[in-house]
Every structure is written in structure tokens, then in C-alpha cells.
Symmetry: C2
Subunit: 187 residues, 2 copies
DNA sequence: AAATTAATATACAGAACGGTATATATTATA
DNA sequence: TATAATATATACCGTTCTGTATATTAATTT
């Protein structure tokens, strides 16, 4: 609703990715966003709450974008899962790409009791389930197994791209995905 | 050489993995290691130097262990690359496994100018080159391409295991790796 | 035994951290 | 225009951070 809250979320998202979450102080966030700490703490109860909201919004935006893309091209289940990595490639190669929140957050908050880690883990699981649904709609037998493998390629490729921008890892992830999907369809 | 330096390295390695790098202060490290800051700063010029040494030693230890395993089982190139993920699985499933340093470090230090990020990136590249050498020794045509794909599976599976211990991701990464290797050998 | 090295305890400097108190200014609503 | 909500500026609190200064104790070497 509030334009300032959105600005803070947007700024925090960017800074968390470019400087790291723990390395980004709230003072820096409000300075870059052009507001004050009082305003930040009016919208977010704590820095942890802000991190959680940033993660939620990031994943929400990506999932929405991906769904649009998948439904725009073809409604056929086989096409959709085959084109999954085409869309992922477009997304990763776009200049706006800065990384995947739940991958970075789980590394910075390794304790499984930590709420941030738990949300990251949940988002990773939900994305895997999303792929699994695509796979089972395409009548693939071991849909969960294939989904897990594709998610490994996804997370590995994103990791590689976060490590070195322009690594070209997605291109090879896509090729590998095609081989695995073709194999799973035949079986 | 010094037993205290080793103890500090060992303690830091453990704490960095279980609590995160930025979230672990030097005070905590020396307290757990049973020494003092003065001693730590006698062996390591700064916290950054300590992090760099921890990363180097971790990767060194893993590479040494992996080499031993690969050479112990079979000297045939085809067997070696096929058994790569068997050894990785054993390593990941061992109780001592706490994660891969360069994956976590690159997430906590995303800036490509940062020395810690640069070392992480270098280690990731070196591991990929190691797999590529295995592949080319097995007379695989696109050795670099396969190596990149296998490294994505590796990093993805490790990421998954860091996120949720006992995820079983490695089992499926191994299956995927076999499919990709078999396909690359035939080509 | 004397001298050098290694390790300790402790205390502190200076900065950055998350979060709050207070008081003022701006905006929108009634 | 009066009232209420929203946003601001600024200063501060207590804690934690990396790194150092100082002085003392233990171990090793000559």
C-alpha cells in the first residue's frame, strides 16, 4: 500500500544481494532508500521481519513471472516442462537478475532453527513441488525424482551465476535438463 | 606447525559453517578454541586472512580425500568419473560433513572485487577443471561441458543438503550424473 | 641460571550494529 | 479550520564488532 514501504523493500532486496544480508545495516538501507529508521521500524518490526518480507516478495514475484511465461507460450504439459529452463535462462540472463534470495539467505543463516533459514528451506521445497506438478501433468512417472534433479540444476546454475556473472552455466543446465526430461518421459 | 593455529583454524571452520561467517566474531572463535585474541592475531593478520586460510584448508582437505578415494578404487578413467558421485555421496552423508566453504562464502561476500569472493570463485573453477580432466581422460568429447553440468549437480546437491540435512538430494544427483555421463560417453 | 620466545589475561579504542525516545513538520481527513 | 495520522530529523542507548596496547606468566633455548 505505502510507497515508502515498497521503496524500503526494493532497496533492501538490492542491497542484500549486492552486499550480503548481514553486511547490510538498516542505516544503509534507509539512507539509500531516502528515508529514516523511524519509518522503517513503523513498517517492519525488526530487521529479521524485513528480511522475511524481502524473501517472500522476491519469490512471489519470480513465481508470478514464471507462471505468466509458462501459460503464455503453450498450455500443453509436455511443452511447459520442456520450456521451463528456457524461461529460467531468460530470467537469469536479464540485467535485472541479481540472484535467488532463499539460496543466499540459507547460506547466511545456516541454523535450521532460524526463521529465515526455515522460510528459505520452505521456498526451496515449494519450488521443487511446483516443478513436480509440471512433471506429473506431463505424465512423468517419478515426478518428484525428476523435479528434485531439475531443482538441483536450477540451484546449481543460479549459484554459478551468482559466483561469476555471465558464466553461461544456464545454457548447460538447460541441455542437461532436456536430457533428464526426455529420459523421464520415455521411462 | 603450531598446534594452536590448527586449533583456531579447526574451530573457525566449524563455527563458520554452523553459525555463518559474518555472524561469527573473533571473540567467539578464541573462546571456543580456548585461546585469546592476541594469539589469533599472531597467526592471522586479520579476520579476512583467517577466512581465506579456512577456505584454502577446507578445499585442500576435500580434494586430497577425493583423490585418495578415486585412486584407491580403480585406475581406469571410465570408472573414475563414474564413481565420482559415489565418493561425493559418501562424503556428504558422513557425519563430519558440514558444507562446502566456497559455496557459503560466495553467498556471504557477493562482491566480485572481494578477495574472499574471488578465492571462492577460483576454487569453484578449479573443482570444475578437476572434473573436466577426469572427463577428458575418459575420452569424453565435450569434457568441459559435462564437467560444468556435473558441477551444477554437485553444487546444487550440496546446497540442498546444507539447507536441509538428510535431504537425500545426492542420491538423485548421482542418478542424474550417470545419465549425463553415459550420454556423453556415447556421443 | 639468563635470555629469548610464546602465550596469557585484561582492558580498551573506535566504529558499526539494531533499535528507541523525543519532538517537529507535513499531509490528509473531518 | 481543527484534528488526526504520517513522516521527518536528530540524538541517543546498549551491545557487539575488529583490532591493539600493556603487562604478566610460562616455556624454551643458549
Amino acid at each position: 500500500m505505502s510507497i515508502l514501504k515498497d521503496k524500503i523493500l526494493e532497496t533492501a532486496t538490492d542491497l542484500f544481494h549486492t552486499r550480503g544480508i548481514n553486511s547490510t545495516g538498516v542505516d544503509t538501507i534507509v539512507a539509500v532508500a531516502g528515508t529514516t529508521k523511524m519509518t522503517l521500524y513503523k513498517y517492519f518490526g525488526s530487521k529479521e521481519d524485513l528480511i522475511l518480507e524481502v524473501l517472500q516478495k522476491s519469490q512471489q514475484d519470480f513465481q508470478f513471472w514464471l507462471n505468466e511465461k509458462l501459460n503464455a507460450n503453450s498450455k500443453k504439459p509436455n511443452d511447459k516442462i520442456q520450456q521451463l529452463f528456457d524461461h529460467v535462462e531468460e530470467w537469469v540472463n536479464s540485467p535485472a537478475f541479481i540472484g535467488v534470495g532463499f539460496i543466499k539467505a540459507s547460506a547466511e543463516f545456516p541454523n535450521e532453527e532460524n526463521p529465515i533459514h526455515q522460510l528459505s528451506s520452505q521456498q526451496s521445497r515449494e519450488f521443487r513441488q511446483f516443478i513436480s506438478k509440471l512433471a506429473s501433468e506431463a505424465s512423468i512417472k517419478d515426478a518428484d525424482g525428476l523435479a528434485l534433479q531439475l531443482s538441483l540444476l536450477f540451484e546449481g546454475a543460479v549459484q554459478a551465476e551468482q559466483m561469476k556473472r555471465g558464466s553461461g552455466a544456464i545454457k548447460y543446465a538447460k541441455k542437461a535438463a532436456k536430457i533428464l526430461i526426455d529420459g523421464a518421459i520415455k521411462a
